[in-house]
């Protein structure tokens, strides 16, 4: 089980083009936050995150990253991702682009929202308290990325959005007629 889960994570890293260098602090942080976001998205990688001083974090993943760093660095895996998993990896890459700060803010916000059941305002307050060294702009962008990646709009959300924007769309079309 331990090997299978590690190989799955390596397959995700390979799909994302994320080649870990275990000696780099940034890379270890990116690895943690990628896995956390994928777990929050519902992909069971076997490395559940809990809250630590560094935000959501998996000590089990740290152990494997160090113990098997060669495998992570050389993308040694026989595991293959399914179509849904590949799609999720592509979305993660498109939205966050392997940027450490955005991934850190996004994963932290996602954890407070989804695991702790915080309201959006409570989750924002928690992120600001835990990561006061990031600017308002970095936090805002990170949260918006987390929302885009983690929270897919429901049919009801889309309907409400349509109602909300239809007035502006009609006004815009009318203005083009003149």
């Amino acid at each position: 089980m331990s090997m299978a889960k590690r190989k799955k994570v390596i397959a995700f890293f390979k799909e994302l083009g994320f080649q870990l260098d275990i000696n780099r602090f940034d890379d270890r942080l990116v690895a943690q936050k990628l896995v956390c976001l994928l777990e929050l998205k519902g992909i069971d990688l076997g490395y559940p995150c809990s809250m630590y001083v560094r935000g959501p974090y998996s000590p089990d993943l740290t152990r494997d990253l160090y113990e098997f760093h060669n495998e992570f660095e050389q993308f040694t895996t026989e595991s293959h991702l399914g179509a849904h998993e590949k799609g999720t990896a592509r979305n993660l890459d498109r939205i966050f682009g392997l940027k450490p700060i955005l991934l850190e803010v996004g994963a932290t916000y996602g954890y407070f929202s989804m695991k702790d059941g915080c309201s959006p305002l409570e989750a924002l307050t928690c992120v600001k308290r835990l990561k006061p060294f990031y600017s308002e702009a970095q936090i805002a962008v990170g949260i918006s990325k987390a929302k885009e990646f983690l929270f897919e709009p429901t049919a009801k959300d889309l309907e409400e959005l349509k109602k909300e924007t239809s007035i502006w769309q009609k006004a815009s079309l009318r203005s083009m007629e003149h």
């Binding site: 630590y52 001083v53 740290t62 308290r129 835990l130």
Partner: protein, 116 residues
Amino acid sequence: MRGVAGDPVHQDVLSILNESHALNAKIFSLVRLKLLASLAALGPDGATYRELKAALDIPDGVLYANLNVLKEMGYLTSEKIIFEGKDLELYTITGEGQDEWTRTRKWLCKFLYCGE
């Protein structure tokens, strides 16, 4: 007094307190225990000064002084790192620190659950 001495919980407490001689008394402050517990969970990854300060809500002077004491005892190491263009101090627990924390945690848990 005889009643207290004959109380099995009292005997347990005394026995657990006697076992504490094997521990390093210098780590028994709230701040140092918080730091060791936090860094032990992160293993070789460590945490930066600013992460510890924010998450544990410890004032700068107190945090810096206690991190240095733990470093002097050989329980922590620190190194400079650059993250997103910023110089940061990264603190990591040593093998000795992990061992001391494991012993202390075991003792604290025994003490906490004594009499239950």
